[in-house]
Amino acid sequence: MFDKYNPLKKKQLRLINPQGTLVNKNEFTEDADSILEEGLKRMLFARTVDLKAVSFQRQGRMYTYPPNLGQEAIAAAAGLVMREEDWLVPAYRELGAWMAKGATLDELFLYWSGFEDGGAFKNASNMMPVSVPIASQLLHATGIGFALKYKKEPGAVFVFCGDGGTSEGDFHEALNFAGVWKVPVVFVVQNNGYAISCPVSRQTAAESIAVKSVAYGIHGIQIDGNDLAACYQAMKTARDFAEKEQQAVLIEAITYRSGAHTTSDDPGRYRTKEEEEQRKKEDPISRIRKFLLKNDRWSEEEEKTMVEQFGKQVDVAFQKVESAPPYPLEDVFRYQFAEMPETLNRQMAAYQRFSNWKEAQA
């Protein structure tokens, strides 16, 4: 696959087109075929969580949130490919992958509601926290890859960034180190067209992001990021290659950020409604649904019931988070060091004295 789709050949891996038709039988394995129903369910679940999150934010019940709308196939595919022993190093727009690793709905809503507790992902094995500074997490992935290799442990590392992230020095350094050290890392760039307001043409003069792999001496491939089958196929191949050959792979997944950068952003300032409508036709959920419907493998009625169920599940989790106990003062301090230094104790005690005084005034 990597030879055939060498980025210098300017080819993109696509298996199922936006009309839901299989267009590349050669690369479409039974394995990829077999995950489509489960993949669609996961995308639908992620979308339900995501749309609800945006609406909770709009209702003033949650803080700033970065929507995943339109990009669900990439995270869902990674979730299906990743094994227990694999590591996930998130950026902040791969909801489906986090949930596949074991991040719970309660945690997600806690985190985006402003509680650090939610960001711990306590039951997710081999998962780093959400990384808001751009591209810095890519280096962590290279380091984790080094550790796996050093300890002769099985597994590979999945790490995400966006098209904007590829402009940061850390992107180049992470790929360069990964190339030199020969470590099992799958770098997934979600090229969703925009870094907040800036189109990808503002980030690079190169033909593609995938082509940058050539200069680092690692394999790279550009895929249709709205095609679940292509995402799965490429990530599965990349993962197994990375683990077996102990080498890194760069995957550029072309998608479209149908929503805003975050709930604080207004895309109307920098792109047209026409463009949004046009790109909506490539939606990852509708194309797999079309494909499965054509092949009598999906029921829209069952989907409706399923999504209603998902909605209820999300509401229950969110209500639980809304009735969470208030953030205790100790939580600001207690996790800063293994043992709390005296200076932090003093600061906490000083605040407590003020707090008691304030209460006494009331």
Binding site: Y63, Y111, G114, V132, S136, C198, R202, Q203, Q361
Partner: protein
């Protein structure tokens, strides 16, 4: 005169300087078409063209590093860091080059870059969007560090920063970006970069603060007044260099001093202020100088932010502690 908020005043300062100074360029992440995520550069690209006001690729180190080159070669770059929490990749350029070029070249070259960035908490933002890093910059020899607290000061100080032959870190208290409106002259005017300002004269105690904390201190001053305590409130404005004279005069008069900062306590700006007060007015002190600074912790996520950000009652409580000493 025109009523402006901080965003408009800062925008107006850049507008005036872009018009006057053909060597000035403005760039940063989303600073062009979008006008910045806080709209501080709004309309400037439209007015001065993409050649002078533009979006850069997403790389803070590159934004600062290219500005060094531009400044060396005769341009006047005014760059934007989207949030102060994101300036960290640029620290190598800022500390290793921006701050040193003049000294290294014995004054032959300058790196008179203006680096703007919104800073501070209180807006319930995501992680890395609420930091106050002014002490880090102030600690680096060769950088001027300026923080306005009003639209008027923001305009006058930013024009001075852009005209300065030194690099200036211009930190904008985003919490009050739109919260404070004030009449501001539409024409060019400047405020010297190294002067503090007495916001409120008083007799009993000196409170020194800057940025968004000024507004909270003003509320605390009102609380104190109700109890018959007369507070002299000083807006530091320049974090480096610090206006020692204004502090000395005030503390010699009041004998008590409280330094208030959002940023972490240890080795912070408040520590410096307390030191200066002690050095300048030791024999006049009625009580040990006191700091109210941020905890030595990571800035908490929104649900813990109330503990971290000083409310007027906390500032008043600290004033009381000093008065009751």
């Amino acid at each position: 005169m025109k009523v402006m908020n901080l965003v408009q005043a800062i925008n107006n300062a850049m507008d005036i300087k872009l018009n006057e100074d053909p060597s000035m360029v403005v760039y940063g992440e989303d600073a062009g078409l979008e006008g910045g995520v806080f709209r501080v550069t709004e309309g400037l690209q439209e007015k001065y063209g993409e050649g002078r006001v533009f979006d850069s690729p997403l790389a803070e180190s590159a934004i600062a590093g290219t500005a060094v080159g531009m400044a060396a070669a005769g341009l006047n770059p005014v760059i934007e860091m989207q949030f102060s929490g994101f300036v960290l990749p640029a620290m190598n350029q800022i500390i290793s080059h921006v701050a040193r070029i003049r000294n290294r070249t014995r004054g032959k070259l300058t790196s008179a870059v203006t680096i703007r960035m919104p800073y501070g908490g209180g807006i319930r933002a995501l992680e890395h969007h609420s930091e106050s890093l002014e002490a880090i910059f102030a600690h680096i020899p060769g950088l001027r560090v300026v923080i306005p607290s009003t639209p008027y000061d923001a305009k006058g100080l930013l024009i001075s920063a852009i005209e300065s032959e030194d690099p200036v870190i211009f930190m904008e208290p985003k919490r009050i970006y739109r919260a404070i409106k004030q009449e501001v002259p539409e024409k060019r005017f400047t405020i010297p970069l190294d002067t503090a300002k007495v916001v409120q004269p008083g007799e009993d105690i000196t409170v020194i603060a800057y940025g968004a904390m000024i507004r909270e201190c003003q509320k605390a001053v009102m609380l104190a007044r109700k109890e018959g305590i007369s507070v002299e409130l000083i807006d530091l404005r320049s974090i480096f260099p610090i206006d020692r004279g204004t502090i000395a005069t005030s503390v010699k008069k009041t004998g008590r001093v409280l330094a208030v900062t959002e940023s972490a306590a240890t080795c912070g700006v408040a520590s410096e202020l307390v030191t200066i007060a002690t050095e300048e007015a030791f024999l006049n002190l009625e009580a040990p100088p006191r700091r109210l600074a941020g905890f030595d912790t990571v800035m908490p996520l929104p649900k813990g932010e109330n503990f971290y950000m000083h409310e007027p009652a906390r500032i008043f409580y600290e004033i009381r502690q000093l008065m009751d000493f």
